[in-house]
């Protein structure tokens, strides 16, 4: 390939322990723009690389509230103003019978918000990502653990960073280009 932009340096580990301690070191060393890749969720990794908060719960709450309100007021509006008819002698605003649909709408909107929110925050779907250029990255979805310090990090310096990673228990350190 001609003149390719460097994405970052990637270290490969065999056990989660090794990965986590490496992450902690890297964070301690002042690296921020980095990401770890694991075949299964590992709380500690995210913490180690300093990613602690997610806004997914907030979105979900918002979705739920929106769903609940729209659910109830749709029914209320329909039966009191849009199409007010005497049905079985019940009052126009039979709120007890509106509860169920209100509840269902709450769940529906909240659920959709949670998933859509998670995907968008994760920037998915995203067909291409430089990390995939790493020759052995497919193992990341099987049994290997990766740590990638990105070139965009202010503290990034190809040589130092590579050395730094080699100093960890990495079985292999490689450069990844866009």
């Amino acid at each position: 390939m001609t003149e390719s932009v460097l994405h970052g340096v990637v270290a490969e580990f065999i056990t989660p322990d090794e990965l986590v301690s490496a992450c902690k070191k890297a964070y301690a060393a002042g690296y921020r723009r980095m990401d770890a890749y694991t075949p299964f969720p590992l709380e500690e990794v995210a913490d180690a690389i300093g990613f602690e908060k997610t806004r997914v719960p907030l979105l979900t709450l918002a979705g739920g509230i929106l769903g609940g309100l729209s659910g109830f007021f749709l029914q209320y509006w329909v039966h009191t103003s849009a199409y007010p008819v005497n049905v079985g002698g019940r009052p126009l605003n039979s709120w007890p019978s509106f509860v169920i649909i209100t509840f269902e709408m709450t769940i529906l909107f909240a659920g959709i918000a949670a998933v859509v929110g998670m995907l968008t925050l994760n920037g998915l779907p995203q067909p291409y990502h430089p990390i995939f250029n790493h020759p052995r990255f497919t193992a990341a979805s099987r049994d290997r653990f990766f740590l990638c310090i990105e070139a965009a990090d202010p503290k990034f310096d190809l040589e130092q960073t590579t050395h730094f990673l080699e100093a960890t228990d990495a079985v292999d350190v490689a450069e990844v280009t866009d």
Partner: protein, 470 residues
């Protein structure tokens, strides 16, 4: 089956599930788990057995399509329904399928929240089962209407006539409950699939498969940030699905409880409908799991432990259902209401008493064998018991719908109900739909959640020191 805690492996197991048989036979590694599950889909050749089974159920599915075509041509009069029995097989099947659809979400969501590690190996196909069951259920509300081409009038949309649905009707609650349930279950299922699809993408050799799984995986790369949000969303979904799954059958039970018909108008319905749903749901899980673990040799992942637990859940819910029946009888007597009393007498001794007594036998008496540990740990016997329970739960709905309707307030309007061949055809057809979908699923998707199985491994755990010092 006591496991001596020597190996690190069993030590972890011990930590996860104290004093229990393993949910994952020791000796597995990240590698082996992945390969084993992946190979079922990507490497295993299509067997004659699979083809035969699929062909059979696909045939049934086509029978349903034919029956439905004739139904749309002639009208619901081809069924056995009449006045007074305005609802027949269609509604019975609907309730039955929705009930079965409960196990999946229950296992994935509630057991997840309860940190029941053993769920990990069965939740995936249980969720799939849920989806297909709900799909089967969804067929009926549509086709049982007199004018199915207008069934969309049940949805609230601003139409030219300015007419709106009637939100006080339990049928409308159904529309919302079931569609919400279907949507959330689908999301839950798909979200759970994403990481595994990534695994498939990375493992598949066949370029076509690679592309398809790649597209479905949406570029998942297992980044720590992804996982963080992913986990949070997954837990939230579980949290939402839990009240939802409990609400769905509650709402379905309102179809009956809200009416004024003796035998329908009962406050005990919501809890015992839910219990019944879980009851039949787990029965269906076993009916699927037992053959699958055998034919695909995954006994080491779906261990006797799973069967045992499922059986215990059935036993428990079964007892709740039994309590429901007792309560019905008690209320009939205690209310002193002549109509209620007659309704119950009619169930016990009326022209349709056979259905009630079969129900008691299948749903209450036979399942008591589950008290015996040997039975719980014997796949064959569990399989049979589960079938019996499924049949029993179907009968329960039949008893509730038909025997309550056929003799209500005015003796002058009493009637009988006899199902026609078209009733049976449609029912058999939904079984076809359900199982052919299941057959496709096990061949195309990871039927066991790979990444969650990995969590069961000792390797997946951080050593204390790393986890500890900060």
């Amino acid at each position: 089956m006591e496991q001596a805690p020597e190996t690190k492996a069993s030590a972890t197991l011990e930590r996860l599930l104290p004093g229990q048989a393993p949910v994952l036979t020791p000796g597995h590694t990240l590698e082996t788990i992945t390969d084993k599950i992946v190979s079922i889909v990507l490497r295993r050749p299509v067997t004659l057995g699979w083809l035969g089974g699929f062909a059979f159920f696909f045939g049934l599915l086509n029978l349903m399509l034919f029956a439905m075509a004739y139904l749309f041509y002639r009208g619901v009069g081809i069924w056995g329904i009449n006045i007074p029995v305005g609802w027949g097989f269609a509604i019975v099947n609907f309730v039955w399928w929705v009930g079965i659809g409960h196990a999946g979400t229950l296992i994935s969501a509630i057991l997840l929240l309860l940190k029941q590690g053993w769920r990990n190996s069965i939740n995936r196909f249980a969720e799939a089962m849920t989806l297909f069951a709900v799909a089967c259920a969804g067929v009926f509300p549509l086709i049982h209407t007199g004018r199915p081409w207008l069934a969309y009038w049940l949805f609230p949309y601003p139409n030219t006539m300015g007419v709106w649905p009637q939100f006080r009707s339990p049928l409308l609650w159904d529309v919302f409950a079931v569609s919400t349930y279907a949507t959330i279950s689908a999301l839950f299922w798909f979200v759970g699939l994403i990481p595994d699809l990534a695994t498939f993408r990375d493992t598949a050799t066949n370029p076509v498969a690679k592309t398809i799984y790649g597209l479905l995986a949406m570029g998942w790369r297992g980044s720590a940030r992804h996982w963080k949000r992913y986990e949070s969303a997954y837990i939230l979904l579980a949290g939402l699905a839990t009240p939802l799954v409990l609400s769905v059958h509650t709402v379905v039970s309102f179809d009956f409880a809200i009416s004024i018909l003796p035998g329908w108008h009962t406050t005990v319905f919501p809890p015992y409908f839910v219990a019944g749903a879980i009851y039949s749901g787990f029965a269906m899980v076993l009916v699927l799991a037992i053959p699958i673990r055998r034919f695909y040799g995954v006994q080491d992942m779906m261990t006797l432990r799973h069967l045992d637990n499922a059986a215990k859940v059935m036993l428990g819910t079964g007892l709740i259902v039994a309590y429901g029946y007792t309560m019905e009888a008690f209320y009939a007597y205690y209310s002193g209401n002549a109509y209620e009393l007659f309704m119950f007498k009619n169930r016990l001794l009326g022209p349709m008493a056979w259905s009630y007594w079969c129900l008691i036998l299948f749903n209450i008496l036979i399942p008591q064998v589950l008290w015996i540990r040997k039975v719980r740990l014997n796949p064959a016997m569990l399989f049979v018991t589960s079938l019996v329970i499924l049949l029993g739960m179907w009968l329960e709905r039949f008893v509730i719908v038909v025997t309550s309707l056929h003799r209500d307030f005015l003796p002058s309007s009493w009637g009988m109900y006899v199902a026609t061949r078209w009733d049976y055809a449609v029912f058999a057809g939904t079984l076809g739909l359900f199982f052919s979908a299941m057959f496709l699923f096990v061949r195309l998707m990871p039927m066991i959640t790979i990444f969650e199985m990995r969590l069961l491994l000792p390797q997946a755990k951080l050593s204390e020191e790393v986890a500890a010092h900060d």
